[in-house]
Symmetry: C3
Subunit: 274 residues, 3 copies
């Protein structure tokens, strides 16, 4: 049917660029990047960070008008796979922290600089980095099943994705602090009222309504869309890069902290006991 | 009765400064500028742009405390009269685009620099430039019949009135993008939830409630009002002028684009067929 | 019971640092500063300004994780005690205005620079300076009985506490203007919708719910909390100090104005007639 979403499980019309944990499809001038680790609640591995950057690079040059991120299964994305922090390289934890900070900074820079409208279709719970980068998106549509959770402090961590700047700007300092510092989880309706989500849809109609709307948006004059977006974004880009650099440096230090090591250990031992 | 609005159709107590498409009245320390082309949904002609600037100039110097913009009839204002773009001068489209950009920039500068509280009484649907400049107003009261629509992309255009800066700041980036890039029309309630409207009133009581409130506001100590407003505004004015200049330059180029020419042609041929 | 708030009326476990009009208690890693002039609706005297700064200074160095401001009785705080403006020193009104401006600037600077999360538990109506500084807090919990009122213009005054900057940023320019320039009083629900309040609780459960939540927050890894907060705040601090200085200078002039003198006289003569 015309209003069905592109199915990320099967090869797409214009060609599939990556399989496995990340599926990229292109159809009707929309490139869709799908988190595809449903058994792991779509947690992002180091490899997936790299694959998302490759997918964004390709999408910036293909004939698509919109780029969509979404998740396969119950979750949108549960954030970082914590195993990203546990396999220590020969250079030791310092090297690990440095490498991760460089990777994260490059990853977020891709979203800051991406030249086409970025759309998140948040099909279920979103956690961590998958929430914080939403402040860099052009459209955020969410299922009423979605939640938005950034539990940095319990893990000994601090916010990324420019959220330390975009969230207070968007929702005021005290709602941003309760979310980013104290880890309060938002419902989809709360996230919408606070400007993080553009619109909430009943889970049963999310796919139909969103994809119909997005296809209509692809019909708009492309240069006007590009100009409008550039006029809106150009002013803030330099500031976002500075914020990203500052957040990644703070995180690099956090990853080497006692608090963070203990939190990861607790997490791993809980896992081992299961 | 004491709670009736100044009637823009008849000459005002303190003198009417412009007739026809724009009516200016002054009463009870409130100067009211009324869009008065109800048969054309209060679309703004080039002449009206000039007359609004003259009216603002006069209002900045008269003994009024508040300056109100409102519309006569069903609409608040349907935005630019598209015939503004179709009568090409001897210098050709380039000259036309240049002249329009200069006029628009000067017009928006008047709102940025206006020294008294600016109030919009949005009596019905608002479109385009009449929506985007609301981010520069001090008070925006709307009928529950009002809607807020900025269909720039379908016309090959990009946003003005500093909205590319004021809207994301006010409602977050993704709600601003859906409105300014993708042309989503807001209800009065949505516009209020997103900070664009101060308060929504039932259409039947809008006039009575708003004018009663505004008359009370004119009784406040005028120097305190002026100081408070200046403390709030002085910080952002330079930035707003830079944004305005950037938006007008982007629009000058848009007006010369194929996309914009096609959109205006479609519009004119639809009109010719009626 | 475990979920009871620290009782500000009796000496606290870790020692009480100030009695009388301001009560400071420290318990469970939470330092609580309580406005304690219920017969005067917790209006702030010049002495209380000084005591609050001393209490903040002590709280920044004690072993507490959170610092809470709240009020004893029906009111949270009714703002400045107007007698602050009526006892004129030998140096005359100019000296008085200068001294008050220096005190206010120092007071607000304490909130801008405070190194730990600041929490307001707004137990009832809040007025003036007790409202404006909320834009500098990390968490603002309010009873559904609370209201938020900044009647500066009727008193010939202009806004402080950085509200001329934080409020428009948080709620958009026109909602901020109606509040700060035109003195519109907000309900707790309105203040929450506009980002000034983090969450509203029924008055009957406010204390239980808030203190349970705050105690949970004290259990979070302290360095992560500190880093997250610093990443969020460091960017804006310089700007806030500049805004504070500008607002205090505007107020110094306002305090010497005819409008302000008349308003204080009206207030004193109304009081004398009672």
């Amino acid at each position: 049917a015309a209003s069905e979403p592109p199915s990320p499980a099967k090869p797409a019309a214009d060609g599939e660029q990556a399989g496995g944990d990340l599926v990229v499809t292109s159809e009707n001038h929309i490139t869709t990047i799908t988190f595809n680790r449903p058994a792991k609640k779509n947690a992002i591995t180091t490899q997936m960070y790299r694959d998302i950057m490759l997918a964004l690079q390709a999408a910036s040059k293909d004939d698509s008008v919109l780029t969509v991120l979404t998740g396969n299964g119950d979750y949108y994305c549960s954030g970082n796979d914590l195993t990203n922090f546990t396999d220590i390289p020969p250079g030791g934890p310092e090297e690990k922290a440095r490498t991760n900070a460089v990777l994260l900074r490059e990853f977020v820079d891709y979203f800051i600089d991406f030249p086409k409208p970025l759309v998140a279709v948040v099909n279920g719970p979103a956690v961590g980095i998958s929430v914080t980068i939403l402040g860099l998106f052009d459209l955020v549509y969410a299922s009423d099943r979605a939640t938005f959770h950034t539990p940095f402090s319990p893990l000994g961590l601090s916010p990324e994705g420019c959220s330390s700047y975009t969230f207070p700007k968007m929702m005021g300092p005290s709602k941003a602090a309760e979310m980013l510092i104290f880890g309060r989880k938002l419902t989809a309706q709360e996230a919408c009222a606070q400007g993080l989500v553009t619109e909430v849809f009943p889970d049963s109609t999310l796919q139909k309504e969103v994809w119909t709307r997005l296809r209509a948006y692809t019909k708009l004059p492309p240069n006007a869309v590009r100009t409008s977006r550039e006029v809106m974004r150009s002013k803030g880009r330099e500031r976002l890069h500075a914020v990203n650099a500052e957040e990644c440096e703070a995180l690099r230090q956090r990853w080497l902290s006692e608090e963070c090591a203990s939190a990861v250990l607790r997490f791993m031992s809980r896992k081992a006991k299961l």
